[in-house]
Symmetry: C2
Subunit: 260 residues, 2 copies
Amino acid sequence: MIPLDDRGLLLGDGLFETVLSRAGDLVALGEHLERMAAGCAVLGLPAPDRREAEALMRRAVSDGGLDGARAAVRLTLTAGSGGRGLDRPDAPAPWMFATAAASAAPTTPARLRVSSVARNAGSPASRLKTLAYLDNVLARREATAAGADEAVMLNGRGHVACAAAANLFWIVGGQVFTPALSCGVLDGIVRRQVMAAVAVTEVAVSAPALAGTEAMFLTNSLIGVREVASLDGRMFEPSAQVAQIAGLISSPIHGGGAPA
Amino acid sequence: MIPLDDRGLLLGDGLFETVLSRAGDLVALGEHLERMAAGCAVLGLPAPDRREAEALMRRAVSDGGLDGARAAVRLTLTAGSGGRGLDRPDAPAPWMFATAAASAAPTTPARLRVSSVARNAGSPASRLKTLAYLDNVLARREATAAGADEAVMLNGRGHVACAAAANLFWIVGGQVFTPALSCGVLDGIVRRQVMAAVAVTEVAVSAPALAGTEAMFLTNSLIGVREVASLDGRMFEPSAQVAQIAGLISSPIHGGGAPA
């Protein structure tokens, strides 16, 4: 339970990370905690204690009986209680908690739909995993209401940014593209892994640029690489290149061997 | 206290209203509750029970010993618990609470600063009071760090939208202007009252258009009309026209007589 004057609850003032737990291994934990610390710096909040964060996450896994399972572990950090209206107290005391739930990997490719809800590239929050995630909730809701699985969000300039809960890649003429972080994009950990594994061109392009794509895929820490079946109803053939990329980055994410 | 799986806490999935209480009178309560119900329709949430909302607010005032005081009463509605990731449960069960705190009217004109944090006019949430208020927190923080009181937020097209916690008006050649709602602006209750009292032109203009302003003022339910002292360091003379507008709308907001 959390108090009613918590700024995360009242104003979305805080951050989260969603980490894959595989048989008790918190995959890429260090990168997740580094990203949260970097986000705290942007928001002007003290960074969380890494040992405490890890202990909270491990306890959430074991309390949920998920030590042997594939699980999503969410670490949430709020700006804590107090302040007056929008203004934080002089010395904010962030509050942190973790929850865990079993999480199956998706077994089907995703059907995407371009959303009418814009991504706010003009806010630093658009490059962070913040508690102010309502735009993404609305974009996802619009997509599922139309029979799709996930939304493609464009920023205020009409440039392709990301999916509601994933980074987005596409392939044209064998070349791999992804939106630049400046388009209002989270610096995804699997996004980084894909960019380290294969040549990827970061671009700022509007939705019509997706018309000539041969294949698309989504990435995030829970799904790894997920192929896209369709965009606004236009079907894609299964792509050997996407399968190859998924294979290249599968060991740190899906292997469960060495920590990433 | 609120449970850790609340979607307001985790995702900013919810709405709020801030109502002025004067000597036990909840000013413009009906308009606030109507606006929250309209917001629920946009977000796809069931509207709150008005009697329950009013009872919660009245209890917050009396529990705080604020029946005789000037107080800010905040009504918060979250999308409730559950769902998986971004997706709401099939039948969301919103959760509602109210808090109250003494609130003095500001006695000095506001010093404004144009913010680098954009308002997301491309999301319907930009026209609602949602729990995903982090952009406004960041804009305010930037303004106060620079010695100002409040931020002026521009949308992704560079058009003037609003202050971090108020609507914005300005005067050129005796004519009153305010950003159109489509700029990413909350349909403020005092904003409506000003527009009903005097001729106001709704515009979509970029920040340089403010260079020729003679006077500016802010409005919200707690401050009523607050004159602006400066914008990015440029000082304004006290304006008889702003004082006149404040007087015209003062009775429903500040009179404590007939409900607005």
